[in-house]
């Protein structure tokens, strides 16, 4: 592998591994790339930073041959190329590690790695040897015969990187590799990445976490609104300066003002337990209170029961034990409809699956989840006028960028879809707002607006349950943070005193997990 890379004449001559010139992509419905210029030195770690929705992903998809660009040229090792399929990219030595792992849980590491690349070294001992060799060389510490389902998140990610190396990639794109990792795992990943660099690989590191970028990158390119706005060296800039490059002049921060927490409990969950289909507990012993004017943040590595908790509170999952009270009423046996009518606003984790009818116009989406309440519905009859008028209000008040309310939800960008959902869920006098990853996949402008709306809701005396994977968002918005680990609440933190490292330890169970109430 290393011989392949080091003896490339282009690398020796100092030719950049990747050179992008004037790349543009007009992509229907979402922000396009335009005038992207980027030079990536061979054998370096090059970070591409930018807020969610800035166009990083599109750019990387272009580089990996998923979508062809409309304008501009791509040169790989000095040679201008056309990448129209991922096969083209792989043939040029470009590999990509996606943010969401693409692994089959019930197959072994070996089987996952050779899947689709059987022609390289077969599927037997030759492949096993090759995998062990790569694993040793870069300190991956992976056993080819272990089942993927037994691996942790960090190990799975190393399997993904191994897959790419196995296919002979010398230029590796890592799409937000740290998003799913806790701080300790990030350190381990960086060690691996430095080894890869030392062996002559070129790494493209996509992130929006600036401290990490400054720790690992040799060069940083900033993407904003679909184009490259600056290329800097990490020792030339502070994180603050980088952040300002990323978001333009105004830097949104989720920090909360003075406390508005009252002593009136709006949501009270006691000893809640939810079982999966096989009867194993997905959540157990969950007890929490949220007061009027309080934001309770739920931190945790994804898949530790966040989805189940939200769905149990909204009534989509049956409890096997415990109770849920909303205000003075025990709602444990209530249907989802009745719970929502009684004042729960719900910003779902997956807005496409749970929050919108993608092929319906916005005004019909106004009715969704509110189909028993004015202004959209009176009695059993829809009020088209009411729904349309209120949709117009939401579009104006929540700054939803759309040509009109007859546009289908699918045609809007993620941020605008989300703003519409927030507007909808804030109408009809909610008492409790459940916000699940409210700013995931939305652009920076929308993110700031959504943060502001959550702060407004808190100030108006709503109880807010905020589930997020973004620790900064949690720390900035919450009055209290609880950590969910393997279906249990394992710690309670004061966001003013907590550090991401503390949360990271609690999220991985580095603390004693039996210590239910860690000191705030």
């Amino acid at each position: 592998m290393s011989s392949q890379v080091d003896t490339t004449p282009a690398a020796a001559a100092g030719t950049p591994a990747i050179e992008l010139r004037g790349i543009g992509k007009r992509f229907p419905g979402v922000i396009a790339n335009h005038d992207v210029d980027m030079t990536i030195r061979a054998g370096s770690i090059h970070a591409v930073v930018g807020e969610n929705g800035a166009g990083k992903s599109t750019l990387m998809k272009i580089l990996y041959g998923v979508q062809p660009p409309d304008d501009g040229t791509i040169a790989v090792n000095g040679e201008t190329v056309t990448l129209s399929t991922t096969g083209d990219a792989i043939a040029r030595g470009i590999g990509m590690v996606f943010q969401h792992f693409m692994l089959a849980d019930n197959l072994s590491v070996l089987e996952n790695v050779v899947l689709g690349a059987e022609r390289l070294h077969g599927i037997g001992d030759a492949a096993r040897e090759r995998i062990q060799e790569i694993s040793r060389q870069y300190g991956f510490d992976l056993d080819p015969d272990e089942l993927v389902e037994t691996l942790g998140v960090g190990e799975r990610q190393r399997v993904e990187i191994l897959k790419v190396l196995y296919r002979g990639a010398s230029i590796i794109i890592l799409d937000e590799p740290t998003a799913v990792l806790v701080p300790q795992e990030v350190d381990a990943l960086f060690t691996n990445l430095r080894l890869l660099k030392a062996e002559g690989h070129t790494l493209i590191f996509i992130s929006h976490k600036l401290d990490e970028v400054r720790a690992i990158a040799d060069e940083i390119t900033v993407v904003r609104r679909g184009t490259t706005v600056a290329s800097v060296r990490p020792d030339e800039v502070t994180s603050r300066q980088l952040a300002e490059l990323m978001v333009g002049s105004e830097l949104p921060s989720p920090s909360t003002e003075e406390s508005t927490v009252t002593d009136r409990v709006l949501l009270s969950v006691r000893d809640l337990e939810v079982l999966d289909a096989a009867g194993r507990p997905e959540l157990s012993g969950i007890s929490l209170d949220i007061h009027a004017g309080e934001v309770l943040g739920i931190a945790g590595v994804e898949g530790n029961g966040q989805t189940e908790l939200v769905e149990a509170i909204i009534g989509m999952r049956r409890l096997s034990r415990g109770s849920v009270r909303l205000g003075d009423e025990d709602v444990t046996s209530w249907s989802t409809k009745r719970r929502r009518e009684s004042g729960i606003g719900y910003i779902p984790e997956d807005r496409h699956r749970h929050g919108l009818l993608l092929d319906s116009p916005l005004w019909e989406n106004r009715i969704l989840g509110h189909q028993t309440r004015p202004p959209s519905v009176r009695g059993g009859w829809l009020s088209l006028r009411g729904a349309r008028r209120d949709s117009t209000r939401i579009v104006e008040q929540y700054d939803v960028r759309t040509p009109g309310i007859d546009t289908t939800a699918r045609a809007l960008s993620g941020g605008n879809q989300q703003k519409f959902i927030v507007g909808r869920e804030m109408s009809g006098d909610p008492r409790l707002l459940i916000a699940s990853h409210p700013t995931r996949g939305v652009d920076v402008g929308a993110q700031a607006q959504i943060w502001r709306h959550i702060k407004d809701a808190r100030r108006e005396g709503l109880a807010v349950l905020l589930v997020s994977a973004d620790l900064d968002e949690l720390i900035g918005l919450s009055d209290t943070i609880s950590v969910l680990l393997r279906g249990r609440l394992v710690g309670r933190f004061d966001p003013r005193a907590v550090t991401p490292q503390d949360l990271g330890s609690a999220m991985t169970g580095a603390d004693d997990p039996t210590d239910e109430e860690a000191p705030a």
Partner: protein, 368 residues
């Protein structure tokens, strides 16, 4: 997207589908070596008044059948069982009307209500199995179709009578029969009175679907089951209710013929309307007006087919092939047009918004 463009696109799909189907049928005729010109001249001839009336009668029952299927389709329930539901319901209506427990039109009314109830119950079985036991409604309704056929054969000898080769329920009394409506003065055939049910059902279908909460929840469940559940729709109850409604409408399919022409349910009762209804619903995009056009088209094709053998020496079965080809073309063309529409709308939204931001750009530039 402008209203005009949206309308044009909505019309483009069926027109394209029909052109494609016509092309395929022409190729089939050419390959077989049949008389292509003869086929098209017969198929495009203006029907005689009596054929036109027969067409309308046929269209009305196809419409009812199409709506029955469409009610399920609108929430992604594939009620393949309209066939069994309407036949069992027609048998029940014939039996009740023939028994004449009530006088005159009260008897007719009772028979209609029984037909709807039987259709609903037969579909409801499949709905309950799907909602509470996870049995695919496609499988259960297909099986129920078969069971319905045997059940009718079994029951008809119990309650009916055999005259010659034919077995049927007792004929209903004169006073319970429903008159016909003369459309053309010199036509020997007239429009069945209960054909007007099609119009009532069509209006109700549109109204419930587009203007009521129930209709919204039904459409929402069809568009995204997960979003509907998250919005508080009880999906099990929706499945059962929708199947009940679909079956109730299916129960009406056989009635125009029974009350205005056959006066009983017999072994010669027309089969296959339920399956035709599925095709009609597909062609009409599950839309009340679309289904009406589709039903008229299918009825027109069937009527003209009767002339093919006499005038052009072509077996009328080619028209059944044509109807099948139409449905296949529709499925393909609608999907192509749908994708085109999604792309066109996204492009249009992107360009509108970028034009807006360009208009706003000078102020932004001044600020920074």
């Amino acid at each position: 997207m402008s209203v005009v463009r949206r309308g044009a696109l909505a019309l483009a799909s069926p027109v394209l589908a029909l052109l494609l189907a016509g092309l395929i049928i022409t190729v089939v005729l050419a390959v077989i070596g049949d008389d292509i010109a003869g086929f098209w001249s017969v198929m495009s001839s203006v029907p005689e008044p009596r054929n036109a009336v027969a067409m309308l009668n046929q269209a009305s029952v196809l419409y009812l059948s199409g709506v029955a299927a469409a009610i399920g389709f609108r929430m992604n329930l594939f009620n393949i069982g309209v066939e069994g539901q309407y036949r069992l319901a027609a048998f029940a209506a014939g039996a009740v009307a023939g028994a004449a427990w009530l006088p005159g039109y009260l008897n007719s009314l009772l028979a209609v209500v029984v037909a709807m109830a039987v259709g609903a119950a037969w579909a409801g079985l499949a709905g309950a199995l799907r909602a509470y036991r996870g049995v695919s409604e496609v499988i259960s309704t297909i099986m129920l179709n078969s069971i319905a056929g045997f059940l009718i054969s079994y029951l008809i000898v119990k309650v009916g009578r055999t005259t010659g080769n034919a077995t049927g329920t007792d004929p209903m009394p004169e006073g319970s029969r429903i008159g016909t409506i003369a459309i053309f003065p010199d036509s020997p055939t007239e429009l069945y009175g209960l054909s007007l049910l099609a119009i009532v059902v069509g209006v109700l279908f549109w109204l419930v679907l587009n203007r009521t909460r129930f209709g919204f929840e039904l459409r929402a469940t069809g568009a995204s089951d997960s979003a509907a559940v998250a919005s508080g729709v009880d999906s099990r109850r929706m499945i059962v209710t929708t199947m009940l409604l679909s079956g109730a409408v299916a129960g009406l399919v056989g009635l125009p013929v029974i009350f205005s022409s056959a006066y009983n349910y017999g072994s010669s009762f027309q089969a296959g309307l339920g399956f035709a209804g599925i095709a009609v619903a597909l062609l009409g995009r599950n839309h009340p007006v679309g289904i009406a056009f589709a039903a008229l088209l299918f009825a027109y094709l069937s009527q003209q087919a009767n002339l093919l053998n006499i005038l052009a020496g072509i077996s009328p079965d080619i028209v059944a092939v044509a109807q099948g080809v139409v449905v296949m073309s529709v499925v393909i063309v609608y999907e192509v047009v749908r994708r085109y529409r999604v792309r066109a709308e996204q492009t249009q939204v992107a360009s509108t918004l970028s034009a807006e931001s360009r208009a706003a750009a000078p102020t932004e530039g001044a600020a920074s």
